[in-house]
């Protein structure tokens, strides 16, 4: 929360831009550090992975379905990729 306030303050005083850039950088750095330290408190011990190890908990639980879907949506829409490579490899209509 503190870090967010600092960003807001920095933006509200455009006249002292140099100082504010430094302040913004400091705020961003604190956010990143905070997030990383938050991450280190997240997670599980190796023996608590019973549910995470299940196939249906994999980020891509069926790579075949994912490949087929990518092919369909790549051919029918203007977007592709995001989860994995958008790729070329298709002259599909």
């Amino acid at each position: 929360m503190k870090a967010n306030k600092a960003v807001f303050k920095a933006r509200s005083k455009p006249s002292r831009s140099k100082f504010n850039v430094a302040k913004t950088k400091l705020a961003l750095l604190s956010i990143i550090t905070l997030s990383l330290s938050a991450c280190s408190s997240l997670g599980v011990e190796p023996w608590e992975r019973d549910l995470l190890a299940k196939k249906e908990m994999a980020l891509t639980s069926s790579s075949i379905d994912a490949a087929l879907d990518d092919h369909i949506y790549f051919s029918k829409e203007a977007s592709s990729g995001g989860k994995s490579f958008g790729g070329g490899g298709c002259g599909c209509n």
């Binding site: 997240l42 249906e56 490579f85």
Partner: protein
């Protein structure tokens, strides 16, 4: 939902087809199949195969069938080899870009030989669409140190009029007791397009008339620039995965993609209308020769407890934007719910919304024609799309899995603010496209 514990059970009952495929794969790879019988049998059992047959069928338009077989083998040092073969066939009609008219319209086929007529009040579709493709993918993944995993892969695909070659490389770094992972991937594709009838000259008028006349071929050739053209695609993918707790995992990706070369669709035209909205001409579309796409993607998976039937929820969101002025939102949700001890049902809902490219126009009005980049391809116009469906999977006694998927896909193109001309009143300028996706998968 193959239970990993069942892998050992399979050795006694391994179906012949699996053994045959394993030996065939080993032969293809040049790995030793001449080792002693026992070790060969063991090695053969380590291959895991996933296969699927898919039917994609649009109402009155394209229908595609696709078959995939993928083999994965884990070696002693956690090295993983994956090979995948995909074959698909496409037939049916595809929108040619021209707008619906109150009277019948005649178009020349992309090959230049012959014409087709679209009846009054119908969206012009080119019904000569036909293609078959074969695709091969290979991927090798291995630990490089305790915390670093590397992976390299290759891609080859050949269609009747299209050739694509690709390579990719990925690195993943695990930390925080492997609860956090940073990953970076690069991929590069080189494609060559050799469309039937050649590459049309952008903005040139579609030649319509008597294709058996002696001057036809010469006149048609004047609307062409060459036989083939190339395209390259370079992608960078940065990812971060975080285990939140025993029940939840999240992923965040950023991707940057540069596409250069021939990005125009040689089969698409744009109608040139008079002020009343009546077609005077059809010109071949023209797109920029580069496109930079970026996207952010986030995903969360959550394993509920008994009170919610141990359902696994999979929710993801993607925001994509590019320098063509397109942006899109995609929300994808799946709920995997166990049914009894050995089967599951998985409802799926996907919502997609995209804005139009800056140069998208459903038609051009004569005199006002700004002949820069222009395309009337609805796939780069404004639209929403929804997919609704479900998958049912069942684990068989020997650990194999059989599953069925049935989905309904509906695209609803919308008007991105273009004025409707009088002759087009009451016509369906932005027709809905509906499709059924049916799939059978078998893992063994």
């Amino acid at each position: 939902m193959v239970n990993t514990n069942t892998a050992s059970k399979k050795s006694n009952k391994a179906p012949n087809i699996k053994a045959a495929l394993s030996i065939a794969t080993s032969a293809l790879l040049g790995t030793s199949v001449l080792t002693a019988g026992v070790s060969q049998a063991e090695e053969a059992d380590e291959w895991q195969f996933d296969s699927a047959f898919l039917l994609y069928s649009e109402t009155d338009r394209v229908s595609a069938t696709e078959a995939i077989i993928a083999g994965t083998k884990v070696f002693d040092n956690d090295e993983i080899l994956s090979l995948k073969l995909t074959v698909d066939a496409l037939t049916g009609a595809s929108a040619n870009g021209a707008v619906v008219q109150p009277n019948a319209q005649t178009f020349t086929r992309p090959s230049g030989s012959g014409q087709y007529v679209t009846p009054a009040g119908e969206t012009p579709l080119d019904d000569t669409f036909r293609d078959t493709s074969v695709q091969l993918n290979g991927q090798w993944t291995q630990p490089l140190s305790d915390n670093i995993t590397g992976s390299v892969g290759g891609h080859f695909s050949k269609e009747y009029d299209y050739l694509s070659l690709g390579v990719n490389g990925n690195l993943a770094y695990d930390f925080n007791k492997k609860n956090s992972t940073f990953s970076m991937g690069l991929s590069y594709f080189q494609d060559t397009f050799t469309p039937e009838g050649g590459i049309p000259k952008p903005h040139s008028s579609m030649l319509v008339g008597d294709s058996s006349s002696p001057e036809w071929d010469g006149e048609f050739a004047k609307t062409r620039t060459g036989k083939s053209d190339d395209k390259s695609t370079a992608d960078i993918l940065l990812g971060f995965t975080q285990v939140i707790n025993r029940r939840m995992i999240t992923a965040f990706n950023y991707s940057y993609s540069m596409v250069d070369g021939y990005l125009t669709d040689p089969f698409k035209v744009v109608s040139v209308l008079n002020r009343n909205g009546l077609a005077q001409d059809y010109i071949y579309e023209s797109r920029p020769d580069s496109r930079v796409k970026q996207s952010t993607f986030m995903q969360a998976k959550y394993h509920f407890d008994d009170s919610l039937l141990n359902t696994v929820a999979d929710v993801s969101y993607r925001y994509m934007w590019d320098d063509w002025g397109i942006n899109s939102h995609t929300i994808d949700t799946r709920f995997t719910m166990p049914v009894g001890a050995a089967s599951y049902i998985e409802p799926h809902i996907r919502y997609y919304q995209q804005g139009a490219a800056d140069f998208y126009q459903p038609y051009i009005i004569e005199e006002q024609a700004p002949l820069g980049f222009v395309s009337a391809d609805y796939r780069i116009g404004e639209m929403t799309a929804v997919t609704v469906g479900a998958k049912y999977g069942v684990s068989l006694n020997d650990g194999d899995e059989l599953s069925f998927r049935l989905e309904y896909y509906r695209q609803t193109p919308t008007n991105a603010g273009f004025t409707e001309l009088s002759a087009l009143k009451g016509q369906d300028i932005y027709p809905v496209v509906e499709a059924i996706i049916a799939q059978v998968s078998y893992s063994f």
